[in-house]
Amino acid sequence: MRLLLRRDLVCQQAVELVTDYLEGALSPRARRRFEAHLAGCPHCTEYLAQMRQTIRLTGRLEPEDLTPQQRDEFVDLYRRWRSGQD
């Protein structure tokens, strides 16, 4: 077993860097260190994939349709504003 060097990341540190990594906010050196950890760690690779999936899933939410009643209320709001304007 290789000695753990001070510059090696452990998993618990790596998971705290995921957002900085995805945001491009890591220094080149920190980025290399993070990627070196991922290359040897399937669990953190899985973790990163799950963070990406988390972002993708939230990004695919579509707003629910307005109910007919809500629609009417907003049309009404709009018309009241229009008539107050003239």
Binding site: L4, Q12, V18, E46, L66, F74, R79
Partner: protein
């Protein structure tokens, strides 16, 4: 989907259908955001309605230096702050909060209880139309400040600069809140979707 810019043009020419389309597009997330500033759903609904009126009144003065969406959410947050009771916006982000429960690591900091695979299961459920409501509910479970950032960044897909401008927070705080919110949400998704076929 019609671009916001086109809706804006139609709206300026007095097209009420364009107004309804905008409401349809943003109402839900506006309510979600407003809720974190004010004490009740009813007050949040008033805030959102006032925001729509402010948008209509401000149409002529809107110069398009920001996107319509950023402008709209900035009005919303200002209205919500004026109405709401939450005063502690400018204090630093509270205590550190680990992205993952420390109990899932061993003494050396390596995974002892590694993440369980759920990515495809969630995908399948969303495509089958079975997950969207659950995902909304899980987002609602996030602490307010994390939820605000996650909704704007990941649901509304704003840039970090836009989010900072809407919420009047620093880039650093934005990133911390985003990290905590996404990390928490990942855990909620893991709990929800693991073992799902």
């Amino acid at each position: 989907m019609e671009a916001d810019g086109e809706l804006l043009l139609r709206l300026r020419s007095g097209d009420e259908g364009a107004f309804v389309s905008l409401v349809q597009r943003y109402q839900e997330q506006m309510l979600c955001l407003a809720t974190s500033f004010v004490p009740s759903r009813a007050v949040a609904e008033e805030v959102v309605q006032d925001t729509w009126l402010a948008l209509l009144r401000g149409l002529d003065g809107f110069e398009g230096r920001s996107s319509l969406k950023t402008w709209l959410f900035r009005i919303l947050v200002n209205q919500a702050r004026t109405t709401g009771t939450r005063e502690h916006r400018s204090i630093p982000v509270p205590d550190p909060e680990p992205a993952v429960d420390p109990a899932r690591f061993d003494a050396s900091g390596s995974w002892a209880d590694p993440p369980e695979h759920w990515v495809e299961a969630a995908e399948g459920r969303l495509e089958a139309g079975k997950a969207a409501d659950r995902i909304r509910t899980l987002i609602d479970e996030l602490p307010a400040r994390q939820r605000e950032v996650v909704v704007l960044r990941d649901v509304e897909e704003m840039t970090s600069e836009e989010v900072c401008s809407v919420l009047a927070i620093s880039e650093g705080n934005q990133r911390v809140l985003l990290h905590r919110g996404r990390s928490r949400l990942r855990q909620l998704f893991e709990d929800e979707f693991r073992g799902v076929r």
